[in-house]
């Protein structure tokens, strides 16, 4: 299970809408414990695939390292990444799977004609053969407290 405050979920969705028809991307910072994962902060990042942003995204090692440092400074873990699929389902592609890392939560938001639609989270299986769906729980409580790692 991946818990996320509604305002952070909306931030991901609006990032996808803003970059449409290109894919957006970013980092998920939060905590990972026995009760599941919680996203405490999202960090929008620049898609480095300027050659093919319509259907590809890439985050550089330096940006990934900086996200890790930002998480550590905030007392959080870097628990995953998000990106958008313009006019395509919020489901990982073979290309997503070929480039995925285990353990991370991969949140994908489908953006249809600039409108964010479904958003799903996925975890790569140990044998890399497929993704397992990870339930997203949106916390809609106003002023819900932030958790820390």
């Amino acid at each position: 299970m991946l818990r996320i405050r509604e305002e952070l979920s909306e931030r991901i969705r609006q990032h996808g809408a803003k970059t449409y028809p290109h894919e957006c991307c970013g980092a998920l910072l939060g905590s990972d414990g026995n009760g599941g994962r919680e996203v405490v902060e999202v960090v929008s990042l620049e898609n480095q695939r300027s050659d093919s942003p319509r259907n590809r995204y890439s985050i550089t090692p330096d940006d990934a390292r900086e996200a890790e440092v930002a998480a550590r400074r905030a007392g959080l873990d870097l628990i995953g990444w998000y990106h958008s699929h313009p006019d395509a389902p919020a489901r990982p592609s073979d290309y997503d799977r070929e480039h995925a890392w285990p353990w991370y939560s991969y949140v994908i938001v489908s953006v249809q004609e600039r409108v964010p639609r479904e958003m799903n989270s996925w975890r790569l299986a140990d044998d890399r053969s497929h993704y397992d769906a990870e339930e997203i729980v949106i916390d809609t409580r106003a002023n819900s407290a932030k958790s820390s790692a």
């Binding site: 590809r56 699929h85 313009p86 290309y95 997503d96 995925a100």
Partner: protein
């Protein structure tokens, strides 16, 4: 040479949750071979089926990407640190797009 390999978060489940592993090796290639020999589950996440490092796996010797050194033949010295650093990439399935 005694060196340290830093393990990124997504791979620590395969190293008994260790965030670093110390081992003996003369080159980066030897170090990675020793690492995947000790922790065999790492291999499929670091290497493609053709035996090459996956394109999104970056290996640094201290602060330098080994692609700009001698790659897996890069020689090691006592106290060196090898870091495995993820690149993150992906993209949607589509019928019209090229890779």
């Amino acid at each position: 040479m005694p060196i340290k390999v830093m393990i990124p978060t997504p791979l620590r489940a395969y190293t008994g949750k260790k965030d670093s592993v110390e081992l003996q090796a003369r080159t980066v290639g030897e170090a990675l071979a020793a690492l995947t020999s000790e922790f065999s589950e790492l291999r499929k996440h670091l290497y493609a089926e053709d035996g090459r490092l996956r394109s999104f796996v970056n290996v640094y010797l201290n602060d330098e990407d080994i692609r700009y050194l001698q790659k897996d033949k890069t020689a090691l010295s006592d106290g060196d640190t090898i870091s495995i650093v993820p690149s993150i990439a992906g993209g949607m399935q589509c019928t019209w797009c090229e890779r």
